[in-house]
């Protein structure tokens, strides 16, 4: 594979993208999970699908590449994130309602666009489940820019985002512009989703944001450690998932997510075994 990697540009692009999203998806995912917004990623990914379908439709009807599906997906994702924020303010007592509204809206739009184009070919399949060969050089550049934006914003607003996640009331009293920061955060989420879709696909992108965090939260002390472990889990699953997906000719979305679930189960079981051993040792000592 290494020789193929050197030989074929599309493989290099895919692996570089994989390495990048293996960092940014769990990084942002850590905030998404502790803010109990895990399902928002799902909602936004389905809106992104509508955007991609729109882009593919344009491509098919006009024959020109005015807006590539990547950018139309990104645009829809950002618009979706703004609507999620608005809806959460309308339903302050039922904030999770924003999720099914946006999610079903996304799927509905996708169905309409897809049928208007009389169905799509393998391209759409790649967008749904990810692909090892779908990242163009242009996409890669956009993803690098997204990664730089995401990392810079998180670096600069880390303490505000952290306080807002832990204790929103305290954040407001402190003088933090909660609404603005929240808005920035949700737009970042939209960006990460758009960047990740090429590799893991629409249906599984939220898994890459939440599963590494689910595993790391079991063993980490504190929030920074949670982020670091989540990135290690995410990166391991992405690299192994891409390699195995390539050899087994399975869309990498499937292999990456199953690896993440395997890592999650291993972590939970290992932790339980260690705890049992510790308490047995303790009982032997005291008993």
């Amino acid at each position: 594979m290494l020789t193929n990697l050197l030989e074929y540009e599309f493989l290099r692009n895919t692996f570089l993208t994989g390495i990048i999203i293996g960092i940014i998806a769990p990084l942002l995912g850590a905030f998404v999970v502790v803010r109990r917004l895990s399902l928002i990623a799902d909602a936004l990914s389905h809106v992104t699908l509508a955007g991609i379908a729109f882009g593919l439709l344009l491509e098919k009807k006009t024959g020109a590449m005015l807006i590539t599906p990547f950018y139309s997906g990104l645009g829809f994702s950002i618009i979706g994130s703004v609507i999620v924020e608005r809806l959460r303010r309308v339903y302050t007592a039922f904030q999770e309602l924003a999720i099914p509204i946006i999610l079903s809206g996304g799927v509905g739009l996708s169905v309409i666009f897809i049928s208007m184009a009389n169905g799509f070919n393998t391209d759409l399949y790649n967008y749904l489940f990810g692909s090892v060969s779908a990242v163009s050089r242009h996409d890669l550049y956009s993803i690098i820019i997204i990664a730089i934006i995401v990392c810079t914003v998180i670096f600069l607003l880390y303490k505000e985002l952290f306080l807002l996640s832990f204790d929103e009331e305290q954040a407001v009293v402190t003088g933090i512009h909660a609404k603005r920061i929240h808005f920035v955060f949700i737009v970042l989420t939209a960006l990460v989703i758009a960047a990740s879709i090429r590799i893991v696909g629409v249906l599984l992108v939220s898994a890459l944001m939440t599963l590494p965090v689910a595993a790391s939260i079991r063993i980490a002390k504190g929030f920074k450690q949670t982020i670091i472990y989540a990135i290690i889990y995410g990166e391991t699953a992405v690299i192994l998932g891409l390699v195995s997906g390539y050899y087994l000719e399975i869309p990498p979305g499937g292999t990456i997510v199953m690896l993440l679930i395997l890592l999650l189960i291993t972590t939970i079981v290992t932790k339980r075994v260690i705890e049992n051993l510790k308490s047995r040792k303790h009982r032997l000592k005291t008993g």
């Binding site: 607003l157 952290f162 306080l163 996640s165 009293v173």
Partner: protein, 250 residues
């Protein structure tokens, strides 16, 4: 004569049609330790929300540290320990050190990060509340009383002159409530002004320098001894209903 830190003059507040506060005149001087008591729905939390800038008074004026409240920007002079400190998500992955660091957010401002001096301040604040050995523990793994101490450390770390506490001892057992008040007393001696909402009237009167009783308006504002000499009928009047006052004999 010590300086007034908070001055409320003829302050009223309405939630829609419902009047929560009416014509409140209230002064907090530097170095005070004020226990704010009163019935539920009597406006205690509303009063605090006004001071914290979370709500705006309908009528009257409020001055903080000599400035009109809408112009007051030095948020780090004032810290807040909310009731919510008891109800945060215990599974949240944050160490004691990370929680206390949050207290510096206002002081640092946007885009700035911790210096070594800030780190030192964090360790000092944790030491002050007697929790030094727990810096790298997850906050959710501590007991209720210990968590409360960490939230005090978070309030202390920005070096505030005034700390406002909204029923911080809810859910903390009796022994730890006493210890908690001793800690507050200690902080007050170091010239930190305290405003404390509490239902623990007995313990509070032993430690506070003044008691304020609020039921829509301020019914009593004086020293704890006077408060204790009030007859049951007078207190019931303040509260608007008969009151069983539990006092701790010491």
């Amino acid at each position: 004569m010590s300086k007034p830190i908070v001055e409320m003059k003829n302050v009223s507040f309405h939630y829609g049609d419902r009047q929560a506060l009416s014509d409140v005149n209230f002064i907090i001087n530097e170095g005070d330790f004020i226990g704010l008591v009163g019935p539920n729905g009597g406006g205690k939390t509303t009063l605090i929300k006004l001071l914290l800038g979370m709500e705006k008074q309908t009528n009257g004026t409020i001055q903080l540290f000599g400035q009109p409240i809408h112009k007051f920007k030095e948020k780090n002079k004032l810290s807040y320990v909310s009731q919510k400190a008891n109800t945060f998500n215990r599974g949240f992955p944050a160490t004691v050190e990370e929680v206390v660091t949050m207290g510096l957010t206002a002081k640092l401002g946007y885009f700035r990060r911790l210096s070594r001096q800030h780190k030192k301040r964090i360790y000092e604040a944790v030491e002050k509340v007697g929790m030094t050995g727990y810096l790298s523990e997850n906050i959710g793994e501590l007991s209720g009383g210990q968590q409360q101490r960490i939230f005090i450390a978070r309030a202390l770390v920005s070096n505030p002159q005034l700390i406002i506490l909204d029923e911080p001892t809810v859910g903390v057992d009796a022994e730890n409530v006493e210890k908690f008040f001793e800690l507050l007393h200690e902080l007050n001696k170091q010239n930190i002004t305290l405003l404390l909402i509490t239902h623990d009237i007995g313990t509070m009167t032993h430690h506070a320098s003044r008691v304020a009783c609020l039921n829509k308006t301020l019914h009593f504002h004086g020293n704890p001894n006077e408060f204790q000499t009030l007859s049951k009928d007078q207190l019931s009047d303040f509260y608007g209903h008969p009151l069983n006052l539990v006092t701790h004999e010491h």
